[in-house]
Amino acid sequence: MSDFQILIESILQLLITGVLVGALYGMMCVGLAMIFGIMRVINFAQGDFMMLGMYATYFAFGAFGIQAFFGAELGAYVAVIAAAPAMLLFGWIIHRLMIRRVTGTRTAGMEADGHYAQLILTLGIALILQNGAMILFGADLISIRTPLSSEAWAIEPFGESMPVLLFFNKSRVLTALFSAAAIIALWMLIQRTFLGKSLRAAADNAEAATYMGINVDKAHRIAFAIGTAVTAMAGGLLATNYPFSPFVGLEYVIIMYAGVVLGGIGSIIGAFWGGMLIGLIQQFSTLALPTQLQNATIFVCFLLVVMLRPQGLFGRNVERT
């Protein structure tokens, strides 16, 4: 194969992997966007919610016999769905007990509108979750291995004229499809249902929403619960390809924030594309940089976006009062 063909193959492969990985990142980011975008709450523990989702999925898969019932391949995905209600409840409780003390109208008198209190509180929650998980589950790496994660579809898109071989990892493809389906479902919820519209209204203007008879506190709680569950499911999907430990959350927190900020705060769809873009950037950065610096690249992206174009690609320019 000529150098040119190798280059084409590398680029296309990176593109494919980038899109597949990006779809999953997009889903994670959408979970964060529900929280950060709608409530403007900085949830530092978002990555750890994801981690909890991974463990929840793992236990649903193995412990509750889902694997036995649905088989090793589909079972993983069923487990992801099965873990979701538990994560919804978890998010609901966390908001009710702790988060709402540092958000909303209560924060009018606090320093920087309660932002610092939010960061500090969620930092505390993150520490408890990470280290608590370590105590409960140990520090060993585990994963939800399915036979699909090591199989791939091989395609020669250009036929015999150009022998370029592209691989589509089966597990990743299924994950990406699942993510896409989840995003579409969420999008329909936000755009079409009354609940979704009340969430958007509460995000646009909390006071006016109250004048409409919408209970903004409750709306925020629902958004928080959904955001937790979506990110947690994304974690469960991630676990089908990568091993994880209690500290996995930290790596992905910055990816999530970078994606949300890149897509534009306040835009759920933007967050998805932001996550997708981050996935692509991460893959393509391997062309020039060693793998360990991939995450450093994402930091740099984050800092650049925040400094040069804080409203992101799709963000609303109007800062909500």
């Binding site: 008198g109 958007r200 929403a209 609303r316």
Partner: protein
């Protein structure tokens, strides 16, 4: 129907903005509240809606004491608040904004009729039903805000400075519509306005607020010609 009895309210525990305000709005009445900036007019509306707490006094609605009622419950009773500065939901369409207005129980029941009537009063909203509210002009947003308030099937409509920031001709138009609506459905209206003559002209009763107190009240027609109103605004 809506009785504000001797209320004291403010934004923080040490500063009271309103001192001992009493206002009565009867069935189908048009009440205007005027006064200079900082007098507490918007604060009054927020106290009625419950977004700031009362520190003294009571608010009664249809005989019930609602002073401690959760703010998001009050619209369901029939108190609609069209806030200062329109405050439409900018990222949502005109129709979606109106749908949000119909979030109350009664509003949902009567949605179809209400929507038809709103479109009749404000044809421009029908034309632009799919447009994002943030891109509408000031006057159109004001009409949307009023339509949104009406969509809740209210018994009392509170309007906070609807003419603010609008060109005089547009403000006139909005005002005319308001009179028309009132005639059509016999709504009670509580209006806060900068344009004093217009506010007092059609009002059954007018109140002049200054530094958180009512300094003048009376028949709309008579207040219109009272120089003390000018003094309340300009100090001398």
């Amino acid at each position: 129907m809506l009785e504000i009895e001797d209320i004291t309210a403010g934004y923080s525990s040490s500063i009271a903005v309103l001192h001992g305000i009493s206002i009565r709005i009867g069935q189908g009445q048009f009440i205007s509240v005027v006064g200079p900036n900082g007098a507490g007019k918007t604060t009054l509306f927020k106290a009625i809606s419950g977004t700031i707490p009362l520190r003294g006094g009571r608010i009664r609605y249809e005989g019930q004491d609602i002073s401690n009622l959760e703010p998001s419950r009050r619209p369901h009773l029939g108190i609609a608040h069209v806030p200062e500065g329109r405050q439409v939901f900018p990222s949502m369409t005109v129709l979606e904004n109106l749908e949000m207005g119909a979030a109350t129980e009664k509003g949902r029941q009567e949605w179809k009729q209400n929507l038809e009537r709103i479109y009749t009063w404000f044809p421009v909203l029908k034309e632009r039903a799919g447009q994002h509210a943030g891109t509408l002009s000031g006057g159109q947003q004001q009409m949307l805000a009023i339509g949104r308030g009406l969509a809740s099937s209210p018994k009392v409509l509170m309007l906070d400075e609807p003419s603010m920031g609008l060109a005089p001709s547009i403000a006139d138009l909005v005002f005319e519509k308001m009179i028309e609506i009132r005639r059509d459905i016999g709504l009670s209206i509580l209006l806060v306005e900068q344009r004093v003559a217009e506010a007092l002209q059609f009002a059954d009763r007018g109140y002049v607020l200054e530094t958180g107190r009512i300094v003048l009240e009376g028949d709309g027609e008579r207040l219109k010609a009272d120089d003390r109103v000018r003094q309340a605004y300009l100090g001398m």
